[in-house]
Structures are given as C-alpha cells and as structure tokens.
Symmetry: C2
Subunit: 282 residues, 2 copies
C-alpha cells in the first residue's frame, strides 16, 4: 500500500476547493496556507452586529487597499467612509433600500477619481488631455476594484465581513451629490462592512468549474464551458435550497439579470449619468 | 512608567505601514497578521527565474480568483494562461516589447467575457439586451479586476511574484486575434507570473498618505490632499533614486502619463477597438 501523500494542510485545501466548486474533479492543491484558506472561504455578509469596527481597523484596511497595484502609480481612486446614520439611510434609499447599508458599521464608497490629477495638472499649468478617454475611465475603475478587493481580504483577516453594493450605480448623480463628489469622480460600487452576526449562516457560493473560466493558450467555447455551466446550474439550485432561496438555478437567474434595460434598476442610463458627472468616454 | 503596549505583531504592522507611506504619521495598527503582512508588502516583480510554476499552483490561483465576489454571481470574466514561448513573444511585441512577458513562467490574460451569457441566452431562446450597455462593460471589468487581485494575493502567498500589464490594451484587436477571443470578449490587462529572481531587488512603492485617499462622510479636496501629494512627490524621488531610476518625482511622472493621446501608446483608440470587438458602450 502507498503511504498517504496528503498532509493536513493539503486536505484542508481539497476541502476548500470542494466547498467552492462542489465537483469531484475540483483541483487538489499540493500547497496550502492560511491566506489561501481565507481567500477560498470568502462569502458575502449582509447581517451585522450593532458594533463599531475595532480602533484602527479602517486605516489598516485602507492601507491594504493602497498596497494593491495601481496603473503607473497613478492612484486614480479614492474612498469615502460613511458612518453617519442618516447618511447611511439616504444611501440605502438610493440603492433600492438595502437594509445592510443601514446596519453596517462603516459604508465605504469606492470612487474612480480623475479629479485629483486634473487639479494637479491645473496647478502645474499642464495639460491632462488623456483623462476624457475610455482608457482612463477603465483605469480608474480597475484601480478602484483592485484596491477594494485587497480591502476585502484585509478585513476578512481581521474577522470582519462585507458585501459589495453595485446598486451605488442605480442613481450615480444623487450619490455624487450626497458625497459632495467633484466633477470626474464617480462611485464605482459601495461596500458594507461590519462584524458579522454569527447567528446568521452564510454559505460559500458555488462557482463555474475551471473548464469554463481557465483557458489554455487560446479561448475556447465548447464542451468544457457547457459542462461547467450545466453542472453549476444544478449545484446552484442545491445552494439556493440550503439558503432558503427560490430554487431557480444559475442559468435562469443570470439570464433574468441581463434580459434588458427593465432589469437594470436604472443602470441602463449609466452612460448619461457619467456624462453629467464630467466623464466623457471619448 | 507605562508598560509597553506594542507586541511584536503590532510593531511589524507599524514597520510595514512606514515602508508603504514613508511618513511619521502613518497608521499604527492595533491588530496584525500574516495576511496583512503579505498585502502591505506587495511589490511588482519583473525579473523571474527560468522555472515553471509548481504543479497545481495555477489551478489554486484561479480558484482563489473565482472566490472573489462577482456581481450577482454573473461571473463575467475568463482568463487565458499562456505558456507557449512563441505566443508569449508575440504578446510581448504587442505590449511594446516588455521582456518580462517573454521571461515569465505563465502569462495570464484577464478577460471581460460577455460572450458566455450571450451564447447561453441564444441556447435558451432568451434576450440578453442588457449586454451592450456601459453598465455591463463596467461589470465585466470589475469582475475581472476583483478576480485578478485575489490571484495576486494567492500567488504571493505561494512565494511567487507578478506584474500587471496594462499594455494588453495597446492593440486590443491583435491580442484578441492571438488568443482567438470570440466577440464581446476583451483583454482588460495581462499578468506575468513566475518565481522571482532573488538577485534582483524590488522595493515597496510609496503611496499617497491616507489624507488624499480616505475621505470621511464626504469627499474633500484641500490641504490634506495637497500635503499628501507633495509629500509623496519627495518620497517618490527618494524611491526612484534607490531603484536607480530617473529622479523625476511623482507629480511630473503622473502628469506626463496623462498629458494626452501621444502618451497613451495607442490606447486613445480603445473605444474604437472595443466597438470592433463587439462591445458597444451604449
């Protein structure tokens, strides 16, 4: 008989992979560590205890965010930390009434910020003629997203929980007014942060098998993607059942989200809203 | 006399903060852990040993990427892993000849992927009329960026190094052809990954003080931002000197990057390139 080749760490890794994919053919990691355990175990939290963040936690989270890569060190992002109860309520109303925005300890609004460089150019009597292009819009969005994801990893390492709020884009102009955003700054997404309520169970959400997402050398559309999609559809129905959600499966759920402007909660007008905020998409 | 209130962990935290900001008033964390150490210590690597990734590392990295949040579980991204030497050379040529793309063990190209849901809608006889909107373009970009940043954290936890390659957007149509991308899929950025060459020193790049980036309740432009900018300008000059780079400071460097289309390496045409790839920005 062969000796077992798995140590306790790689068994933990295999368990985390199975929890994420719910497939027998999930990857079996040969190396594992605490950070991977944290990343694979991610779940969104929407139920928080009525507690503040520990002292200094916000600054640590923001430092982790700033440590993410930023294109050419341009640092085209900012973040607004909202703790004022009334402001959180108003932002919740602008985001379709999401209760966790009211309940969280800190509501972060992650901004693409082209204002800083525009002002800096003015002060130095220089042109900043690249700013109105789609390229810089994209760079600001990517910078904000990389920073925010590092923030999520950092806050989870501190035992906190969070959920991204895309609905900050439902009414971008009202959000900008509420946060006193200058021109060329817009809210890419929000993030509710707090101490998770341990009484509310959350689950690791299953994802597409790697056959759909990881391509070798060139993109491929075919058997592997369709197998991953159909398997996820079934596994997601199990997940929805476990969570007490309507059992509609993954395919029906995602197709209903992208069916058209009527399903977009106002975000079909994002282009016009960006223009009103001074963001051109040239 | 008071007893010292710092333990070894929080001293490590203070050191990591000082390395990142190079300011006496950097945050002094009261909690610290290995994951935070990893996040704060991030640096880009461009010099790699001629070695493959350890077996299974790529799949672990991709599983970490897939564990990041994705808007409404739409999973609007894919990634192509390129190891073929000739393809890496061709992609390096399309990215202004960056040598680290040739030298890395794996070159990942992170894609915004609206093709999957479009095909799924067709198969199921449904409309996917939301896909051409700016909102879905942004969602695909954010999904890809959150995933990629989790990948960076995961690969660094395994002792690997990486660098983001924005230059994948210099010639998006040629990149799409090289990777056989279907319509509505585009390369948001690349990422060179490998075993860092320990003989080549890299430094933690200084960032703007939190006064510029972290706003309380509302956005503010004023003293705090200008102080952070001017301090960084000086600290960045020190960093450039240490790294043997031209000492131009932060302000001059970033303003020269955004001065206009001539400084954008072709990316001022991104909008037209996206249109040619079937991405409308409605």
């Amino acid at each position: 008989m062969n000796k077992p080749t798995h140590d306790i760490q790689t068994l933990k890794g295999a368990a985390a992979m199975f929890a994420r994919y719910r497939r027998e053919d999930s990857p079996k990691p040969t190396q594992w560590n605490e950070t991977l355990e944290l990343l694979l175990g991610h779940r969104s939290h929407r139920a928080f205890l009525p507690r503040k963040l520990p002292e200094g936690a916000l600054e640590t989270i923001v430092a982790a965010a700033q440590s993410a890569s930023t294109s050419s060190n341009l640092q085209l992002w900012s973040v607004v930390a909202v703790t004022d109860q009334e402001r959180k309520h108003r932002l919740a109303d602008l985001a379709g009434g999401q209760q966790h925005i009211r309940d969280c300890a800190v509501f972060l609004v992650w901004l693409s910020d082209l204002h800083r460089l525009e002002e800096l150019a003015k002060i130095n009597g220089r042109e900043a003629a690249a700013l109105p292009y789609v390229e810089l819009f994209l760079t600001g969005v990517v910078d904000a997203a990389l920073a925010a994801q590092n923030a999520v990893v950092a806050l989870e390492s501190l035992g906190l929980g969070s959920v991204y709020i895309g609905a900050m884009r439902n009414k971008p102009e009202e959000v900008a007014k509420e946060l006193a955003l200058p021109p060329k700054v817009f809210a890419v997404f929000g993030m509710a942060i707090g101490v998770p309520d341990p009484k509310v169970e959350t689950g690791v959400k299953p994802r597409l098998g790697q056959g759909a997402v990881l391509h070798r050398e060139q993109y491929s559309w075919g058997e592997a993607q369709l197998d991953a999609i159909n398997t996820l559809d079934a596994k997601f129905r199990d997940f929805q059942k476990e969570q007490g959600l309507p059992e509609q499966g993954w395919i029906r759920q995602v197709l209903s989200r992208v069916r058209g402007p009527d399903a977009m909660s106002g975000r079909h007008q994002l282009r016009e809203a960006l223009a009103a905020l001074g963001i051109e998409l040239k």
